[in-house]
């Protein structure tokens, strides 16, 4: 390891050191606010070297990791998301439980795992990153120990994630047996199918599919989202999925999925099933967290459509879509968390009835977030969808494009249902709902920034698209 390697790795090193520091500080002095400040400081510090490292060009650190524009972009994105999630978690934890500080340690660990995934260039680092991420998430899902649903969610996530890890490992082993290497960049798909390689890659895709909750590996998502406390669900929906998309693109885009018809058709089927499955299953839900779970299944389907288009445009489209999805999901879960009280999360649709008349700003943020998820113009989600459609139509994938359009029309219905509930006139005699605590300044500020970001990206995304295109050049 050279000094250059160490400088390149600085963001990851800082991310790894912060949880240790926080853990030590907790051992001596339990202070919620101090822990939060240290966490945010660590995340900020990890963000700074991203700018200096950018000028260096791709830097391979051992065979395991590569620090290039792509990795830096995703690390930056995930660190930002973790930052926002930590800020949003603070008031929630303050209201909820007496074991608050450990949450941040786990959050930092999850972020570290996610960052490793974004920079991984090798099956070993892929698996390591995924496990760091998953172990942190198991605990986070079950964080409200007194709540049965939380425990149930935690167990479900543990069992299924472990199973999916087994699939992943077997797949890696098969690919290794065939290729003789575990580095991503040596992986080349041949037009003539090689059964061992195909099965190996298929198993890896099963593992990734579990993590992204793509149909038919989506069963866990609604229960886990419902059971997990809002900030933990936020992390599963954002940091976890974002980082797995990052490693997925890194692994499969250079391999050129189009050259293997079997994988291509299998992934197309998964994409279509996820889009329709997610959107159709969400229709029958009355729980906002479950709605968001099903909606995120559909959204990962859209990302997959972008990916399947192949080429630079595809990575740019998928990445931009992920950015818009992350911002909207953060905002939506942030509002859910802000509305939750010490007894339960505000996840029933009735909790949102007439919200606009009581908490107009929170309702406005949630409206913007849901409109963005639904893909309505003036919000980021619209341009994200447009970008993905552009890529898929450009590649001539009309069935996928048409499925995307059709399923997002179905999706409109349940987003609008929540919005309609928020804008409904509250009954006169009904007092203040039990689950509407006043949002704190921190929450309000973060959510406000997210809403502005969603609209800003929806009106003028040129800077971020420029950034994404520059980083794509690294990958292809």
């Amino acid at each position: 390891m050279t000094p250059a390697d160490l400088t390149a790795l600085l963001p990851l090193i800082i991310l790894a050191a912060t949880p240790v520091v926080v853990l030590l500080v907790i051992a001596f002095r339990r202070s919620h606010l101090l822990t939060l400040i240290l966490t945010l400081l660590g995340l900020l510090l990890a963000f700074v070297p991203l700018f200096t490292a950018r000028s260096g060009g791709p830097q391979n650190v051992m065979p395991l990791l590569v620090i290039d524009g792509y990795a830096l972009f995703y690390v930056g994105l995930l660190v930002t998301v973790a930052f926002a999630a930590a800020v949003l978690a603070y008031p929630y934890l303050k209201r909820h439980t007496d074991r608050r500080e450990e949450f941040y340690v786990l959050l930092l660990l999850a972020t570290l795992g996610a960052a490793v995934l974004a920079a991984s260039n090798h099956f070993a680092s892929f698996f390591l990153g995924l496990e760091i991420l998953s172990v942190a998430l198991y605990v986070l899902v079950a964080y409200r120990r007194e709540d049965e649903r939380s425990i149930e969610g935690g167990f479900k996530y543990l069992v299924l994630a472990a199973t999916s890890a087994a699939f992943l490992l077997l797949g890696m082993a098969l690919v290794y047996a065939q290729q003789g290497t575990m580095a991503f960049d040596r992986l080349v798909l041949q037009p003539t199918p090689n059964l061992l390689l195909l099965v190996g890659l298929g198993l890896i895709l099963v593992g990734i599919g579990f993590k992204l909750a793509l149909v038919p590996f989506h069963m866990w998502a609604p229960d886990v989202y419902e059971g997990a406390p809002a900030p933990a669900a936020t992390l599963i929906a954002t940091v976890s999925k974002g980082s797995v998309v990052a490693v997925f693109l890194r692994l499969f885009v250079p391999a050129d999925i189009g050259s293997s018809p079997t994988l291509f058709w299998a992934l197309s089927a998964v994409a279509i099933a996820s889009m329709f499955g997610g959107n159709l299953l969400a229709l029958a839900q009355n729980n906002v967290k479950r709605i968001l779970a099903y909606s995120s299944i559909a959204h990962l389907g859209y990302v997959l459509v972008g990916f399947l288009a192949g080429g630079a445009q595809a990575v740019a489209a998928s990445t931009f879509y992920v950015v818009t999805y992350l911002a909207a999901t953060l905002a939506a879960f942030g509002v859910v968390g802000a509305l939750s009280n010490s007894r339960r999360d505000a996840d029933a649709i009735e909790d949102y009835h007439g919200l606009y008349w009581r908490r107009p700003w929170l309702a406005a943020v949630l409206t913007v977030a849901l409109f963005s998820l639904a893909g309505i113009p003036l919000t980021a989600g619209f341009l994200g969808k447009l970008y993905v459609l552009l890529a898929s139509v450009g590649a001539g994938l009309w069935p996928l494009a048409v499925s995307l359009v059709a399923s997002s029309v179905i999706g409109l219905y349940y987003y609008l249902r929540v919005i309609v509930a928020m804008f409904a006139q509250p009954e006169a005699e009904q007092g203040v709902s039990p689950t509407h605590p006043l949002p704190s300044v921190v929450e309000g500020g973060t959510l406000g920034v997210l809403a502005v970001l969603l609209v800003g990206l929806g009106v003028y995304p040129t800077p971020i698209i420029r950034l994404i295109e520059a980083m794509v050049a690294n990958l292809i």
Binding site: L378, L383, V393, A401, V402, V409, L412, V420
Partner: protein, 506 residues
Amino acid sequence: MNQILPILVLWLLAGGFLAWLAGRWSKPLARWISLGALILHLGALAWLGVQVAGQQTSWVLDFTWPWIPQLGFGIHLALDGLSYLLLLLVDLLGIVAVACSWKGIQERVGFFHFNLLWILAALTGVFLALDLILFYFFWEAMLVPLYFLIGIWGHKNRRYAALKFFIFTQAGGLLMLLAILGLYFVHEQATGTYTFDYLQLLGTRMSPAVGMWLMLGFFAAFAVKLAAVPVHTWLPDAHTEAPTAGSVIMAGLLLKAGAYGMLRFLVPLFPEAALRFAPVAMVMGGVGIVYGAILTFSQTDLKRLVAYTSISHMGFVLLGIFTWNLLALQGAVMVMLAHGVTTGALFVLVGYLQERMHTRDLQRMGGLWSVAPAMGGVALFLAAASLGLPGLANFVGECLVLLGAYVHHGPIVIVAAVGFILAAVYALWMIQRTFAGPNRHGWRFPDLTGREAAIMALLVAAIVGLGLYPQPALNTAQRALETMQQYAVSAQEMASPVQPSDGGAP
């Protein structure tokens, strides 16, 4: 000078924001702000009209700015005679919508006017945009505020109506989006340049099958907006459940956006496909005229009745557009303007009645003339305008459409002419059931107030003006319509030089 085009859009957006903020402190202030914003907007338009009068080019103003160059999206706004007329309609009906909500809307006044002005801003954008993505952007952007307008301030069944409206129009819009993207790549394959710019996309070569599919994508969006039969079912619900201002805007402006889309984009971009599709579209128009009129009879809800007349009138527009000769096109534009003003006025009148009677049920009305003679007079006048009485605006438009279409499409014109008779029957029958006859239910309520009378006077003056002296409006639109015809014809010749062009039909 060209920079005024984006300002026309931004002005209304800013006005909406200001009204929202002001509404938190004072309800009247919000109303005055939005009224003031619209009057200034109208003033700017009038000034613009004087400045560009007499210019010989079709596009009098043109504004371009790179928006998201990586994806080939640009901001391209341009003004011609057709957009100018429709912008005038936007401002006129916008002022009417604000004025007629002055007393009726008492809840969340600021947010109401925010939504109202944003719809108008998006419509302004729709009538100016020449970049297809920008057009789609504005096209969809008007849905959300309109959805809120219906969903929050509407009548009893508002949530269902708002949802239905939203999903119908969104589904149509997304099909158009796919077609836009398809056109983008077809154009790239033909010429090697990626662009969404309307003027560059004109005359793109494509195979007949591709052209037909893309044309159908556009047609889906525009037909839903235009409420052409059989995709009209959202209209009666949405128009009936919306607050008066929402109904005025939907009937007066939203339906016109669909017609405008066909005129501006659908036929010029896909002349060949439109020609092959024209018989179907014209039959849809003819069916719409008659079917809308017949359905009008069976209504017992006054507002729903007015809503169904729109379907009938929009049939004429569809017929006129797909006839595609200058006479019929002029007629279609006139019907758009006339219907906008007339139906807007009818909805305002229904709003007055509802505010006073708290019902729209025709069976509980009758004999209202003795109660409110001024209102009755206005109603009779509007009914006469709606049935196409010569000398009033609708007659000019519908007559021109029939004249234009008669040359090549006699049978459809005969069917459409039946619509004229039906219109006379339902319009008079409506008066019969509301204002005429004995006052069996003992209604007592005040006649038109000064504010209400002023709104009506404005609209009645517009109807009479357009009816007696339509020439200025026709002249304004003429060059724009001729240019669009040229686009279509030249593109068609480029695509298939052997095909004879018969008298300007597409």
